[in-house]
Subunit: 271 residues, 2 copies
Amino acid sequence: MKFKERISLLVKERKSLICVGLDTDPDKIPDHLRSADNPVLEFNKLIIEATSDICVAYKPNAAFYEALGAKGWNTLKNTIKAIPDDVPVIVDAKRGDIGNSSKMYAKSVFEYLGGDAVTVSPYLGEDSLAPFFNYKEKFAFVLALTSNPSSQDFQLQEIGGRPLYEIVAENVQKWNKNDNLGLVVGASHPDKIKEMRNISGNLPFLIPGVGAQGGDLEASAKFGTDNGKSIALINVSRSVIYASDGVDFAERAREEVQRLNRELSEFDIFK
Amino acid sequence: MKFKERISLLVKERKSLICVGLDTDPDKIPDHLRSADNPVLEFNKLIIEATSDICVAYKPNAAFYEALGAKGWNTLKNTIKAIPDDVPVIVDAKRGDIGNSSKMYAKSVFEYLGGDAVTVSPYLGEDSLAPFFNYKEKFAFVLALTSNPSSQDFQLQEIGGRPLYEIVAENVQKWNKNDNLGLVVGASHPDKIKEMRNISGNLPFLIPGVGAQGGDLEASAKFGTDNGKSIALINVSRSVIYASDGVDFAERAREEVQRLNRELSEFDIFK
């Protein structure tokens, strides 16, 4: 089954849109895990064990693993391996380079790491992303409108009367010949999620920025899914994985995902 | 000495603008090296040994190492370690993420790998790049106009009558408070290199696309340096490192850099 179908199935079964962001910072790991052989991997495994039956995807951010060097790269691979096969993994890598190099990045994410999906950055245009799109069984979320304040620097600048992120969204639809593309749309722009859904047809959205970044869960869920008609994954990272810094961290992470799922259940989006 | 000063010095001393791109593809390594313990590292070391006194920088592209997983990450670190201290290293990573994550990428590139400079992608705006800029002793080249055909998809789109890449260049000048920023400007747009130099003040340029990608050496050198008044690094990768696939590959790589240096010497840019 392909990524989109797998997500659709899990959304229905679990009545959840929650993607757990595994952005594990070694400095924020509970004390009692620090003596483990590989504290980050141990932490991730316990988070996964506690949440893998109630979320619909995981999204490790490559930055947090790269910062740990070769060992971190192994930790990322082993984290992905520890995720049950039924839950898809999005490698949050925001890669984008000329074709020759992007081919290598795609190989890294899909073949070496074994990710099911990836995030990519559109600045270099179609030929820089085609090496990702060409993995027909895999999936790529293209950055359109991000959740950070400086998204206004370029993404909100108008080209022919429309913001750059809309031009990106329009292009992604054109590029979507293998039906394996989606968009990243930040939760910090709730009004714009609605507009984006209107102009993006049925493209799956990945919505970061709920939780620590203060994005709006209700708007993200209702507008992102067009009231349950499209796919929108809501990524939550820090507020889940660091719900507690004590021995109960995994249990508290599970409770936080359950709380988010309960909130989602009030929005009438699971048909 | 900071990156800019180190480059200026080498340009003067060596009468070269050549940055050797270490985009080493294991499939393109000469047969006689394949039995080495780490063929990519062995290949890189021999290329470095053969060229480190006649070029002004090296630029390994992270993609080629990531594709080899944790081992590749070690190879990248050890490649950088093998480069003599007087020749600066640009890690071509094209990273860019929200601040929290970019901080980790900057740590990876500057602290773990030990790079002197990095390439970054501007799509997420200033706060996504600040973690790189904040390493005052290091340097960052921001993608403005890239050498691939699809650079037209977004970079050439007009915002208020000016192409996006010019808006990026303008912002980079504004962000350059630590005097440690430059621009990536592809050699496949020779006319635009001239315009970019006119609007970018004295910002150092990194110019990829000469060689295998067909960019124009003379226009890149003359326009990029404003006839010797500014810094422009001309990156050449495949045409140098794969100059031969025989046992003479390193010798031929050296000859190719020497040939490029001789060509550069005809343009009256070394004052």
